[in-house]
Subunit: 433 residues, 4 copies
């Protein structure tokens, strides 16, 4: 009998696209239910213990994600609107507050994993309770546009945490000597299309959100930017290409690295991507499907900005700016998840055109995360959503194999510190003409 | 409906004395079963989440204690004796190794809380499996003295972890804003006997283990020590007495403190015992029964060596040496747990004689933990049990309200760093004549 | 007798403008001598001890600045050109290497202050020796353009270190309880012109260096940028204005701050600019002239990016981008140092126009330090001068009262991490139309 | 010309024994002058820079030692006795206070090296000023016993700092890539006497100071101790013997080490004594005479308690207790410094008897630094001299080649944390019978 078996949990194919891009009033309740059920479905393969532990200060326990997304609806939607509002639990307002100073006290982020109480089952009870109250509220106010807008914001917020739940579980499982698998492993990709370059002329372009009903405040205002002529790589950098950088002593050559990146590399003792390890048979990669042989044709994942920048310099290229990326991607359809999406791991592309933009790996840009011209954060707590993080972070564009499809947008601005690599971050190259 | 209720777990009165001091061969299996069941009983009030989380590097998850004590039997008893030995799980040998270099790799101590797998239920399965195999082995070798000795060592080892399981859960619950209770709160104590002094003459005495079948290696050899005349306080320092030290600016007066203690105090921002907090109604104390009003007559608990030493200096006294303590306590019967033991909190004493020696709070001595003259650590892994910790720790004597009664001994040497206060450590004063 | 007097050193008026903006071949030796003598003049008021100590890892000892600038000439100019080159001291190549991996080993930056040997007098001897050899070389190669270019780079490099020598000495003296003065204190400023707003239209502009013989690589290529319409404040924020922010609880209101800035503030315990302190008579400011009453009309100095950004948000404004700043400043003459320059402290302005651009305080921009489109670092060691620092730093524009005048340029890009405040950094506001 | 020469300072033979063990009233002024001049003589080879820098928090600048020892006389002797007392400089009372809370504020220890002012010459002026005032005071009060006692304490205090000045300079010079020499290098030792064991019987002995006029408070009260029979090694462990431990993988075998020592070793990356380094020709040792080939016959120096303990365990021995050491050494004459004393480096011994007790290297004992029975710290500031350090330190006995001879005493108790190795600490073995 293989006693290791119970350590691996399997879950049925997850649906990852419950939220329509445009939510009509009539559909709000069903959109609400779809997104909320998706979070529970993502947590279903986890044990109580898996859901409770915090593996590093940047990551949060799955249980906390489930509670915090519920807190968002209870605090911002129900509290000001529910007659005779009574919180589910008086302490949850503080326990599940992430970073909203306007709401009041917060449980310290690095201590989220110390909260064994409430347990997973109580948090699921909290979710049911708030879901019932939300449905009741939405039925009584079908025409309240401000309410609708806030609920849609809450759903997109929850979708962000669905992605984080997966990135955080991947990290948690990666630090276990048992390397548990969250789902089935991805099958290997046969080939990858050759990398080609797509050229774009200089001139004034416009970037930033337009038209579509939902957006985050940081995607606005739409505005003009002058771009010099540039070229963009047709696809993401593959594991095989990145392994060649390693073979060429890329991690040992300071000339490829930003000074701060070099120091980071030395301090972390990093000489390969965080989820890679080498054994006698060659490179292995930890995935949500467990520890697997590295797939040479799949995109490289979980690189920091420093690594992406060093690879680009070694490859006689550079990272794109976010304006270059958006301007090139805007005319294209949002491509759907590649075949491997069900196993939360990206596939190679066979497409010779501009591909792998939206649902394989987030793409580091060389753009520091900053306010668009004319940006002003909205008043109140929701004004803390994005604006206060606009320093010392870098914008990632596109989306990844763990991003809910209905959450993707060409103007979407993801952002992380240059050292972050537990997100599904990859590399798309650009170059000057 | 009070939604906070499910956060508080109650458990029936726990039996804390399953292991006879002297284990006859015929009784070994029943002693084994009694101790092993006691561990499970202590864990019964805990949720899966409670059992998994590590609240600080010094503490371990309850689940780890349950696994490690089982590992001890599987590794040291079964592995060399079971025909065709196959481990329950090939990874557990490393995962549940605490600090035995001779056994091989160890999972790093500060990462014990990251092990969500194996889950609590699998660890309980591990326990059942090893218990069955142990019983089978013991039945086949009723006359194997070496085996018997090793099993008794394993049972005392497990009793140590029973105490640690409680101290570690107390710490975990104390850092939750919800202050969960592990058991029922203790009822307040009416009065405490006045503190009196008991005098002892100078001369050569003997200390160290003798006679009794079981002891840890650090209690040997029994040897001669010359003592100057001294006096010992009749009972432990009470909360009321310690509160008077605080009122008298004891925490703000460097002259009372060791220089290193003063630095510790500043670095930690400490101005009262770690589980005390002040609200408008006065002092409260976090206990295994939850947050309670401070009981003035109960012994002060959870003080560091620095605090104990500073209090003693303020009180014109000093801490005893371990030889003074043992020499004074040796003639006394091991007093049983006070009435409050069921709730894992000490009671006041009404006894005018030398009391509260064994089962209320461990008593810091001024003795640095060191080898007795002629001590030599045994060869092999068990030699790592005690000897390698003999530096920069201080000896505590007696026992506490969470120590299993059958684990107490007058020659018992507990030891912790001077800054430790999550153990049930209190203060007994001594003074020169 | 006032025994404190000897602790204060005074020095005669320093000339701060020895290097012409454009260096003709015929003038190279005199320009070389002028810049080199200026460094020695700046160090003249310092004792051996003052010149040796490193007060924090970011700062360097004055003696190190004197040695490193000399090392630049010995390593990059003399070593490849001097026939039979022999280094002054074989160890200096490593000791005085700052961050050039291409040159080889470096003495670790945080340990620069541990180098008591070579002493100040030996470093001055090193300077004389290299100066003689440089003059000899320059005389033999009057028409070597590459040599001339490298020497001019070395002189601008030395001017950068002249400024750093002053910022680092200010920090060193500020941590002494004696608050030594490097020079005479500045006299108070009577008034400051009212702050007005200067408007600029939208459209494509060009920024980046053009024409002028000398520039650093990061100022190139000159390129097009699209600017939205904006307004720029006529002058720098004054101490009085910044004090009003403090009075209005600006440091205690998270809504004004970037999240990372708020954390920085808490970690540092910062609630006023780093060189301010409050006594019973009000605010005092540590200056290179010693501890003085805060001058309300002088510009606020030594603020971090976080503080500048928080102040701007509180004042319903924002920081300018570097393109906005350069585009507005380009048509203006480089204004000369204000009257207070001799005492290394900025004066108030009486000018109603756009003023205080170049020689009072560096002005934080909201622009992250990044490569201009088409930038490529030159090959070899000089390629490490700028490019490898292009991450997680913010651009400051203009110049300060401690910047050598001949070192100023409208396209000049200074850069520091957002937390840096030991530079002479101030605040110029911008706003959207 | 060898330009490295000026980096090496040489000084004439230093006299290291100016203070008679017993100071008669008539001799007090000459004893005072002798000790004070000795401090200045030890500082003479140092440049201003050498005297100012602090190479680690545990070490102090030479200038600070010169100032602090002067402060002792000004604060404790002159301030309460000099009519119309005026301090030399109002800030020095705080700047040169080491750790006396009763005196008031202290400049933080890790910032002693930031005090470039007062400079060395002003500190020497401070010394002259206080010396004049002290001589004047002593002349007016020839029969004041309390004054005499305090002055003698101050002289012994100064002798302690003479030793620290040398240990701290050795550390400072050791971190310079230039490895400056403070004095001439020691010549190699031809041979070392074989190690033999000296046996001592069990029984009650007395230890602690008696008779001799001067002692530190921690050497009292003299008291009885029971010793088991033991043996003491005839001489110190040599470099050759310690190198054999290294060759035998002593640093890589956890079984030899205390658990805390093993962690220390890993954290520090230590695999040889701190001043050793290996080059192609073999081991070299940094000494006050510069970097030299390791002398196999000289005693091993600069080992931590952890290293001393590990070596002893590997050698099937142990460290002595301080009572064993003192009891064995008491009958012996204080042996004088070995021939190498002038170069501040110990020599081998040719003596087959119990040797190298007092003036080669301090000898780690296994005794934690604690109060002798009946010890009570004196009231006031001098009570802070010793008592408050009695935790987590280990006693070293004997004396070293940098200890002033007149400072040696058989009852002398030196003490340092187990990790300290910048003192001249060596190893004497003991074993059970």
């Amino acid at each position: 009998m293989d006693r290791r078996a119970p350590l691996v949990c399997r879950h049925p194919g997850l649906r990852v696209n419950p939220l329509p891009n445009t939510v009509m009033p009539a559909d709000l309740i069903s959109a609400y239910n779809a997104v909320r059920q998706q979070s529970a479905a993502l947590a279903a393969p986890l044990s109580c213990e898996d859901s409770c532990v915090q593996s590093m200060p940047d990551a949060s326990p799955a249980k906390w994600h489930l509670g915090h997304t519920t807190w968002f609806f209870e605090t911002f939607v129900l509290e000001p609107r529910e007659p005779g509002f009574k919180p589910f639990h008086s302490a949850f307002r503080m326990l599940f507050n992430s970073y909203y100073n306007a709401v009041g006290d917060k449980h310290p982020r690095p201590q989220r994993g110390l909260l064994t109480r409430p347990g997973l089952s109580e948090v699921l009870g909290y979710r049911s309770n708030v879901d019932e109250r939300m449905q009741a509220l939405l039925l009584t106010k079908p025409d309240d546009d401000e309410l609708r807008e806030l609920v849609v914001l809450g759903l997109h917020h929850e979708q962000q945490h669905q992605e984080l739940l997966l990135t955080d579980i991947k990290h948690l499982f990666s630090v276990s000597p048992l390397y548990p698998a969250y789902t089935d492993p991805a099958s290997p990709c046969a080939t990858a299309a050759p990398l080609t370059w797509h050229a774009f002329p200089d001139g004034v372009v416009q970037i930033g959100h337009e038209g579509d009903p939902f957006y985050f405040d940081n995607e606005k205002p739409r505005h003009r930017v002058y771009l010099q002529a540039y070229q963009l790589a047709s696809r993401l950098v593959t594991n095989a290409e990145y392994a060649a950088f390693i073979e060429a002593e890329g991690y040992g050559t300071p000339a490829h690295w930003l000074a701060e990146g070099w120091d980071w590399r030395l301090a972390e003792g990093r000489d390969h991507p965080m989820y890679w390890q080498r054994n006698t048979a060659g490179w292995q990669e930890f995935t949500l499907g467990g520890l697997c042989a590295l797939d040479p044709n799949a995109p490289v994942l979980h690189v920091s900005y420093y690594e992406a920048d060093a690879y680009a310099r070694w490859a006689c290229a550079r990272l794109p700016t976010e304006a270059e990326w958006e301007s090139a991607a805007a005319p294209l359809a949002l491509n759907t998840h590649s075949a491997g999406a069900g196993c939360f791991h990206p596939r190679s592309t066979q497409d010779a055109g501009l591909s792998q933009l939206f649902s394989d790996a987030w793409q580091w840009t060389q753009s520091s995360y900053a306010a668009y011209p004319g940006f002003r954060a909205p008043p109140g707590a929701v004004g803390e959503y994005n604006g206060k993080f606009m320093v010392n972070q870098y914008v990632l564009r596109g989306g990844s194999c763990v991003t809910p499809e209905s959450h993707l947008r060409v103007s979407y601005r993801n952002f992380f510190p240059a050292s972050a690599c537990w997100q599904f971050s990859g590399i798309r190259l650009a170059r000057d003409v």
